[in-house]
Structures are given as structure tokens and as C-alpha cells.
């Protein structure tokens, strides 16, 4: 019964005296290890005590240790009556699970004897892979190496894979949340490829991380059912991810696939319940088999329909193929055979989907960058073309603007000629024809014509709104005529800001009005004094008050206006200024106001 060993050599202990207690019934006997509780006590929780003997031909000089690939779900280990290690509650079940990680136990120096007994007591829950794997005893250097290697593959590797999956999941979900296509107004479109990849990676992170979670937040079997649901969600999400990769989203047959995946999701919890509560592990085996079959059928369809035309298809197909193969291996190893201990390989092969997703994202980024570059180039070309067109168009526009300006100027000059010089020359001709006009009248008419002509020419250089310049220029042009008539000129013109509302046309009209007023004084007033007053009005000097005051004989300002006065009123109305006339003998005032 006791294993015989040579000091300094490793021994694997595969037999034990076992005392098991389930539902108040205790049985005793020699058992072979591994002792897979779920296989031997289907649907029952309980405790077991294993006694393992080993002998040494002599007491070893180096340190010794014990390596246990799997034991639990709670356990305690004694050597020669001394407690070496214990984890978990041996009395009550469904709490923490210490059967996930391989264990190493140091043997206190001096504890070993020629004849040794290891006692291991466990508590096992239903469907939780409790039990005891073969025990290895030997020099610390060898046994610790075995433990370290096992631990790295099962725990450290699982944590690394879970972290990697979590990162990929977060990136994929972030891409799903942020990459929104707003090309259809009111209907923002998100890419489901990222959503399914994110969900798959998130589910898988939970599933893989379970290997390192000894004290889960939920009691057994709920936690176990959650990990089964996570595995199913991973498979279903990955299938939908591959559907997006293949571009099958709008295929009619997809409805059936989606329904089937929903069924798988729905059955995951009952299958877990049956396996972990009622002791029917075949339910879970069938669930896993269904998942594998679904993936296998999908792969076949994927290969046929896409003809793996692109590198993207190739990578995804390889990932599916690899995972199906590994999944079937794990199914056989852990569900169909008696294997106890060991690791699932799928946790590592699943990384291939992460690689596929990374490639897809990079390929899309490359495609987007290329498109953006092409678009930019296209835009630059278009802008360059437009600029060239504008360059050609610009001179034409300038020419048109100049033409327009010239045309407007011509119209203004023609109007001036018509109202001013033309009108006066016509009058002079009529005066000559009817022979009634005096020499002075003729001279006055012709002088008016010439002065109008000069004023029209001067008006070409007037800045719009510069009434000060307009007045000054009129004085310059007409002063000799006032002097010739013996009229003293009093100039009371303040500094005037430009009146912005008076454009070139309005300035011309104002000039005509003033000329008419001056001409009336020269011709009819018999005045000896003419006073010109100009004052700014308003808080910002935006307005103007102009007064032409003479001390002549006056006129009846209430009588129907003569042609000249009517013309002044019409012009005032046309440019929106106020014209007021008042006259008594000795004081006649023409007032023009702008507000």
C-alpha cells in the first residue's frame, strides 16, 4: 500500500485509503487517484478523507515539498499528524472554491520519517470539479518546478488572457459607441461588428478570469451557471461578429441563425442547473456539443460563401477553425474522458479572435486613411481647379464691375447734362428764338449752363456724403458771379462730418438744389448779401442743417411754386431730405435738413 521511494527522488502517490461521506452515509475503501468527485458522486455534495502512505529508504538531506495539481473544493493537508495547509470551510459547501489552482506545500524540516502518512481532507460541491489529483512528493527543487509550470499555465496565463480580452472588449465597445455614421439624417448608424466583438471579448474575459477567482461574488451553483452563460455568449457573439465580417447582416437566413443563437443562450442556464444542481453533467456536455456543432456548421457556411476571398476572411476562418478544434479537444478532455486536473486550451486559442479583430480595425483604419487622403487630394484638386477658374473669372468680374461703374457714371453724367447744361442751353435757344429775352437774361442762362457743367465735373471727384466739399466748391465756382452782381457772401460753414446716407446720386441732387437756390438769388432776389450756414446735427453729427439766407425782395412762399422751386421739392423728396422755404421782404431762407 505504501509507496516505496528512494530519498532524493520524486514519488507520485496514486492510491489512497478514502473515507467519503455523502448525505450522512460513509463508505471506506482504497481508491485510485485522480478521485473525480463529480464522476463518483453524481449530484451529491460531501466530504472525503484520503490517507496516502509513502516510505523513504533513508531520511533526505534536502528540503521536500508536496505538489497537488487539484484538490478541493475546500481542503486540509496533514503530514505525519501535522497540519501543513488548509483552505476553505470543510463543513459547509457552495462557498469559496479552492480546487481551481494547483497547490504546493512545503514540508517542515524534520517532519519526514522513513514511514510517512499524508492525510488530505476535502469538501466537494456538486458539479464543481472537486476531488483529489495524484499527489507528488519529492525534493523541493523538482516539485516546485512542476507546480510553477502548472500554475503559470492555469492561473497566470488565464489572468493575462482575461486582461487582454478585457482590453480588447473595451476598445471594441468604445469603437462601437464612438464610430457613428450620420450620413442618414435622424438615423445614426453604429457598426455592430464592434458591438459583437466587444460582447464576445467581455464574456470570454469573465469566463477565463474564473480560473483565478477562488471566492466568487455569487454562491455555487449560480456563479457556475453564469460562467456557462458567459461561454455561450462568447460563442454566439463571435458567430455574429463573423456574420458582420462576412457582410451577411441583411441575409434572410440570418433570422434563423439569430433565433438558434437565442435558443443556445436560453438553454445555457438550464444546462448549468441540471449539471450543477441535479447531478446531470450530460446536460452541460450536450450544451457544449451544441455550441461546437453550431460553430462547425457556421464555419462550413463561412468557408463556402465567402470563399475566403480576403485576408480578413482568411484570418477569421482560421480563428474559427482553430477554436473549434481546440474546443472539441477540451470537450473530449474535460466532459467525456476522466481527465482531472490539466488545463483547457481554448482560453489561449480564443486570442486568435482578438488578433482577427485587431487586423480588421487596422485594415479599416488604413482604408479610412487612404480614403481620407484620396478625398483630400480630390478636394485639393477641386479647390485648385476652382481657384484657377476664379483666377480666370476674376478679371472678368472686375471688368464687369468696371463696366457697371462706368455705366452708372455715364448715366449720372447724362442725367446731369440733361438737367443742367442741356436744360440751360435749351432755355438759351428758346430765349434767342422768341427774341424776348434781354442780354442779361441770356448771359445768366449761359453762365448757369457753364457753371452747371463745371459743377458736374467737380461732382465726379466728390466723396459721397462730403457736403462740406460740395459747398466749398460751389462757392469757388459761383463767387465771381455773386461779386459781379454786388452780392456780399457770408460764409458760416462749420466742419462737417460725411453724411453717410448721401451717395453720389444724392450728392448730385443736393448740388442741383443748392445751385437752384443760388441761381434764384442771383436772378430774382436783388439782394446785397447772401449768407450760407451749415451746421452738423444730432449727437454723432450724423445730420446736417443748411441755410441759404438772402436779404433780397423776397417772394410769396405760399404761392404755387415755380418750376425751379418745384424741382427742388421733388429732388428733396427723392433723396429723403427736408426742404423748407420761408420768405419775407429782406429775409428769404432756403433750409435743407437731413436727420
Amino acid at each position: 500500500m505504501a509507496a516505496q521511494g528512494v530519498a532524493g527522488q520524486t514519488q507520485q502517490l496514486q492510491q489512497a485509503n478514502a473515507t467519503t461521506t455523502t448525505a450522512g452515509t460513509t463508505t471506506q475503501g482504497v481508491v485510485s487517484l485522480p478521485y473525480h468527485w463529480d464522476k463518483r458522486h453524481k449530484g451529491q455534495a460531501g466530504q472525503a478523507r484520503f490517507e496516502l502512505q509513502f516510505d523513504l529508504d533513508s531520511l533526505p538531506t534536502e528540503s521536500y515539498g508536496i505538489y497537488l495539481p487539484r484538490l478541493g473544493n475546500a481542503y486540509a493537508i496533514w503530514l505525519n499528524g501535522h497540519l501543513l495547509q488548509h483552505n476553505g470551510d470543510l463543513a459547509s459547501g457552495n462557498g469559496a472554491d479552492f480546487a481551481k489552482a494547483p497547490r504546493y506545500v512545503d514540508i517542515t524540516p524534520g517532519l519526514l520519517q522513513r514511514h510517512n502518512q499524508i492525510v488530505i481532507q476535502i469538501r466537494a460541491d456538486v458539479g464543481r470539479r472537486g476531488g483529489l489529483a495524484p499527489v507528488t512528493v519529492g525534493p523541493e527543487s523538482e516539485v516546485r518546478t512542476l507546480h510553477r509550470s502548472d500554475h503559470q499555465w492555469r492561473i497566470t496565463g488565464s489572468v493575462a488572457v482575461a486582461i487582454a480580452n478585457l482590453l480588447v472588449a473595451l476598445i471594441a465597445l468604445a469603437l462601437w459607441a464612438t464610430q457613428v455614421d450620420n450620413s442618414i439624417p435622424g438615423k445614426p448608424q453604429r457598426d455592430c461588428l464592434y458591438l459583437f466583438a466587444g460582447l464576445a471579448e467581455l464574456s470570454w474575459a469573465l469566463r477565463v478570469a474564473d480560473a483565478a477567482i477562488e471566492q466568487p461574488p455569487l454562491d455555487w451553483p449560480w456563479w457556475g451557471m453564469l460562467t456557462i452563460a458567459a461561454l455561450t455568449a462568447w460563442v454566439c457573439s463571435m458567430v455574429l461578429f463573423c456574420v458582420e465580417v462576412a457582410g451577411w447582416r441583411r441575409l434572410a437566413s440570418l433570422t434563423w441563425l439569430r433565433r438558434w443563437l437565442a435558443v443556445l443562450m436560453a438553454t445555457s442556464l438550464p444546462a448549468g442547473y441540471l449539471a450543477m444542481v441535479t447531478g446531470k453533467p450530460v446536460a452541460l456536455t450536450l450544451q457544449y456539443a451544441a455550441l461546437a456543432t453550431t460553430a462547425l456548421v457556421f464555419l462550413a457556411r463561412f468557408l463556402i460563401r465567402t470563399r475566403i476571398a480576403t485576408l480578413q476572411h482568411k484570418i477569421v476562418a482560421a480563428a474559427i477553425l482553430l477554436n473549434i478544434g481546440v474546443g472539441i479537444r477540451d470537450l473530449v478532455a474535460f466532459r467525456l474522458s476522466e481527465s482531472y486536473g490539466g488545463n483547457t486550451w481554448m482560453r489561449y486559442s480564443s486570442l486568435m479572435f482578438g488578433v482577427a479583430l485587431a487586423y480588421i480595425v487596422l485594415a479599416r483604419l488604413h482604408q479610412a486613411t487612404t480614403q481620407a487622403r484620396d478625398l483630400l487630394k480630390h478636394m485639393e484638386d477641386r479647390i485648385a481647379r476652382k481657384e484657377a477658374e476664379l483666377q480666370l473669372l476674376y478679371p472678368r468680374m472686375e471688368e464687369l464691375a468696371r463696366d457697371h461703374e462706368r455705366s452708372a457714371e455715364r448715366s449720372r453724367i447724362l442725367r446731369d447734362m440733361h438737367d443742367g447744361v442741356g436744360s440751360h442751353i435749351s432755355t438759351a435757344i428758346r430765349q434767342l428764338q422768341n427774341g424776348k429775352a434781354s442780354h442779361d437774361d441770356m448771359l445768366h442762362t449761359l453762365s448757369d449752363a457753364l457753371d452747371q457743367l463745371k459743377l458736374s465735373i467737380d461732382a465726379m471727384h466728390l466723396q459721397p456724403g462730403d457736403v462740406g466739399a460740395l459747398l466749398a466748391n460751389m462757392r469757388y465756382r459761383l463767387e465771381s458771379r455773386f461779386l459781379a452782381c454786388g452780392i456780399e457772401l457770408q460764409w458760416d460753414v462749420a466742419e462737417l462730418a460725411p453724411i453717410t446716407r448721401l451717395d453720389a446720386h444724392a450728392m448730385g441732387q443736393l448740388q442741383f438744389m443748392l445751385f437752384e437756390a443760388f441761381s434764384n438769388v442771383l436772378q430774382h432776389a436783388h439782394a446785397s448779401m447772401l449768407r450760407v450756414v451749415a451746421l452738423p446735427l444730432g449727437p454723432a453729427n450724423q445730420g446736417l442743417q443748411l441755410q441759404i439766407i438772402d436779404n433780397g425782395v423776397g417772394y410769396d412762399s405760399d404761392a404755387p411754386p415755380r418750376n425751379g422751386l418745384r424741382s427742388m421739392q421733388n429732388r428733396a423728396q427723392a433723396i429723403g431730405v427736408v426742404l423748407r422755404l420761408s420768405s419775407v421782404p429782406g429775409r428769404s431762407v432756403v433750409e435743407i435738413r437731413t436727420d
Binding site: K454, D458, H461, G468, A472, Y476, S480, W491, V493
Partner: protein
Amino acid sequence: MLWAQSKRDRGNNVWRVLVVEDDPDMREFFAASVTRCAALELAASLGTVADARDWLNQHTAPVDVLLTDLGLPDGSGLEVIRMALRLHPQCEPLVISMFGDEDNVLASIEAGALGYIHKDSTPDDIARTILDMREGASPISPMIARRVLSKYRSQFADPPPSFRAHPTAPEAETARPLLSPREQDVLALIARGFSYSEVARLQAVTVHTIRTHIRNLYAKLSVHSKTEAVFEATRMGLLPPHS
């Protein structure tokens, strides 16, 4: 000196006037206006730039006043002004202008003219303008005053310092504005329509002072335009920097 000599030689303050006008009636009118004034003597009345050039080259007797139209059949009256000033530096040119419009008048001033006469002036006005000019009066219209103010208010009398090959004077001395503050004030009042006498009253100076300001302005504009032309020609590589 030459000018003083000619006056002394004649001894009776009669100014010799050369008339250049292509329209025969107008030429005759101006010639008659000069002849009828005792203080003026008609040197010649001519119709083209070529005739004026020949006459100026052939006659060394001083010309005191040049009365020239700008639009001549074979060129511009500005050429006649420059020629007359070169051969008779004491000569004071007057431009005959139909409208006294600012473009032509400014170009004439920059060519060296000291005033202008309107074609529709009376004979007495023509003689008066010539005599006033000889006494130092130059006319300036409000429009031209405005134009000069806006063009030269910020300009400087000398070319930019960077242009001078051998700067010897401090910046402050050389970079003085073309128009003095007083000249700017006078021009501003003229631009508002005030007469010389009104400007003199407002500035509390004599009319003579105002006339002097305006005459100085004429000279400055003429000199400035020449300096500007040399500067521009040098900048464009038409003249070497030291010429």
C-alpha cells in the same frame, strides 16, 4: 538775378507774356486781354508745342509769364512749361484751363505752374490774375486743397532714409512732413470754402501771409514731384543711386 536784370532793363514793370493756345479765337482773346493791359506786353502767341519750342530756342529776350493751354495738338502744355522754365528760369507759368479740374491743375503745379486761368474769365480777370501772380498770389480751389491735404498730409519732404546713399543729417531733421502744420491749417480752411481774406482773419495773419503759404506750397509740390520722380526712377533702376 536774371529776373531782376530784366525788370531793371525795362524799367517800367511791364511783364512780357507768351501765350500758347491752339484755338485761334481763344488765342486771339488771350492775346488781346494781355495787350489791352498796360502792365503786360505780349511776347508772342503760338498754337503748338513745336512752335513754342522753336520760339523759346530762338528768342533770348526774357519771358516773364507763360500762359499755356494743356491740350495742344502736338503734345501737352506741361512740356512747354518745363521747356520755358529750363530756358527762362524767371518765367512764371500759368495754365489755361476750361474747368480748373483738380487732375490737370495738380499735374500743372507739379510741372512748375504757379496758377491757372479759366477760359471763361473776362479780359480784366485775366490781366488781374497775371498781375496777382507776379505779386506772389497763386489761386487754389477747395477741391485741390482737399486733394493736396489727403495726398501729402502724411508724406515727407525727402525720400525715405533708406534711399539716401550717405545719410549725414539726423532723422528728425530730414524726415519732416511735406506740409507744415500752419500750411495744413490754411489748406483745411480753404478746403471748407473760406476765401484767402477769411482764412487770414481766422488765422489772425495777413492775406499776404496766406498767399505766401500757398506760393510755398506750389514750390514744394513742384520740387517734391521732381524728387519723387528721381526716387522712383532710381528705385526702378533707371538712374544710378548717386546721380
